[in-house]
Symmetry: C2
Subunit: 387 residues, 2 copies
């Protein structure tokens, strides 16, 4: 096990009706900006419930944060936060709203004379302070409600930039599984795939004898495999939604990744697929992960065999066969969730590999993976094999 630091101070309020506990999480004299995405939180009545729960407090609102939240949109909220001297942010939505709100939190107090986009540079090292934030989560997927990371897109250049800072770790997260009942199936499926791949990226690397982290990772994968299809079949099954919501939070709050190697190549390559070809984030992961596991099967052999046995119960056949079967099972699970796993399924018969590789190079992503050996040539191979 590698040395690690783990600090996860987000207070979790989990379960039906926990919005009732929202008010006491916020300073009574706070000037609160509620951030949200499209109209779903309006239509569902959630925003009204939150306004009622916080009645008498000083509230501002900023809606319209889109999937893959954009700098261009978010700067409107930054201006509002500055003008109204907002001192608490309440994100109501899924990972995009949370990520966008983290940018607002870091950018509003950013005092450099230059463009706040630059606060994202050096993956967050420039963030020295931020407006405190909390969230009411409506979509389990990204884990952003209990971590210090975010991904922001700049539409004008097609850049997708991630950053990390303890300053943007949410103070609290309200996780009410009932709020997820009305999600479209596509978003539920995407969320399950996203959480699944988050776990795999911290698990299928090489062994460092970190038994707790491995077993926690396997427990999350097994839960997602069991509960994911049920969530599509029975949208109002509380236990299923609760298990998925908690799995997604645990998948990326630092716990299973503490002290182990990690391989975020699938996410990095996926960001370019979204930017260039418009696939949903989770769709890019479903397309790329099975190929990446196959391409890196030698380097990942020990963990792939462990994954085959403990997650899929595959114990017979030679090692190559067991790995083939585990990768096939992974692909079949994504397909069963209704998320196709080939680029051609999304109408992308000829991926623009040249442009995507150029972007990877521009960002310095030329040595990805747990060994730093996923170079541009390997990335090309992965993109092409994903057709």
């Amino acid at each position: 096990m590698h040395n690690f630091t783990l600090h996860t101070p987000t207070k979790i309020l989990f379960g039906e009706g926990q919005i009732a506990a929202l008010r006491e999480q916020l300073p009574s004299d706070a000037r609160i900006l509620i951030t949200y995405g499209g109209g779903s939180v309006v239509r569902s009545g959630l925003l009204t419930r939150i306004r009622e729960a916080l009645s008498g407090m000083t509230l501002f609102e900023f809606g319209g944060i889109e999937p893959n939240p954009s700098y261009e949109t978010l700067m409107g909220a930054v201006e509002l936060a500055r003008a109204e001297r907002v001192d608490f942010l309440l994100a109501v939505g899924g990972g995009s709203v949370l990520d966008g709100t983290k940018f607002i939190a870091a950018a509003a107090p950013y005092e450099a004379a230059d463009d706040p986009w630059h606060v994202l540079e050096t993956v967050g090292e420039k963030v020295k302070t931020a407006i405190p934030l909390g969230s009411v989560l409506t979509l389990p997927a990204t884990g952003s409600e209990m971590n210090m990371g975010a991904v922001i897109t700049r539409k004008s250049t097609g850049d997708k930039q991630h950053f990390f800072s303890p300053c943007v770790m949410p103070r609290f997260a309200v996780l009410d599984p009932v709020l997820t009942y009305t999600l479209p199936a596509r978003q539920v499926a995407n969320g399950v795939v996203d959480a699944f791949v988050h776990v795999v990226e911290q698990y299928i690397t090489f062994p460092v004898d970190a038994k707790v982290q491995d077993r926690f990772a396997e427990g999350l994968l097994l839960t997602l495999i069991e509960e994911g299809p049920k969530a599509l079949a029975e949208p109002e099954n509380y236990a299923v939604r609760a298990n998925l919501m908690w799995s997604a939070t645990m998948a990326l709050n630092g716990l299973i990744g503490a002290g182990v190697p990690q391989d975020w190549a699938t996410h990095m390559l996926g960001h370019e697929l979204t930017a260039r070809h418009g696939l949903d984030h989770a769709q890019t992961l479903a397309v790329l992960l099975p190929v990446l596991l196959d391409v890196k099967r030698d380097a990942k052999q020990d963990k792939l065999l462990q994954y085959a046995e403990r997650v899929w119960g595959i114990t017979t056949g030679d090692e190559a066969l067991r790995i083939d079967l585990a990768i096939a099972a992974t692909r079949a699970f994504f397909e069963r969730m209704g998320v196709p796993t080939r680029l051609r399924d999304y109408g992308v018969d000829q991926p623009d590999v040249t442009t995507m590789l150029a972007k990877l190079q521009e960002r310095g992503y030329t040595a990805l993976g747990e060994h730093g050996d996923i170079d541009l040539e390997t990335s090309r191979h992965i993109y092409e094999a994903a057709r």
Copy 2:
């Protein structure tokens, strides 16, 4: 899954050499009281290393905190902390030093005119403020380094009182597995048993469809079963010590107990065995848990069968047999760790059941267990069957 609140702000610094990161966890102008137990941290040189790591800072020291830390001893530290206006406590040791330090933290600022023992009443509700504390852990077992609980003994009356308060949640914990190499085998074994029973008490109750919590619990049990005997055989195996240390912290930091029923009867009954017959804390658990699981086998049937299958791989035979085998396997594991599981093994042929039941009644522990149905008669049965 039940609703829950989970808040675990302790910063973990895990791994060999993390004492180097100690200084930056402490306010530079703090008046720090270092607390410790017997002489082992002196003999091992750890205290010297910590003094060096904090050279130039304002340090005070209080040693001699005993196993089952006593009010009588700790009041000496409370007086020192008050006299020297200490504003940070650094516990160096195992669970007893940590628990004792939590009492010091709560009692020193306790301003009521009466005896600080009363700060423990109503299991901690009276604690409104505390001196902040951190720790350097030397013995993985109790999980006290990342939770808000403590148990204090009053020698004069034989009382053993637990209390909980978010005010005494440690700010940080340094977990260096190397520091555990020199522990006596008995303490290593006790620690493994203690952590194992912590997990069981949050796991073998009744199912509430909390799949993540169940699988995390099973992962910890499997790790303790695999690594415990190795720790006795190979005291300087870093990976083994690291896995045990992390398991013990995870066993009682709130994570696996979030949203699930719990049964702390083994601990409650065990405290009286320690008070009356002097067994080590973990010895009481090894003696009582197998009996309790047998006595409550009907109420715990579903989870006992799950435990049998997922932890011990027991899948054949009828339900009663599988439960018998799982309980036998539990007992055999404790024995293999060198911790006997019958009172007679400790020379207690005639346990003073009358006195222990009177103490349970005095404390109001007459309805223990996840269903509140472990009454004094059931407790009598458990004590007598443990001979």
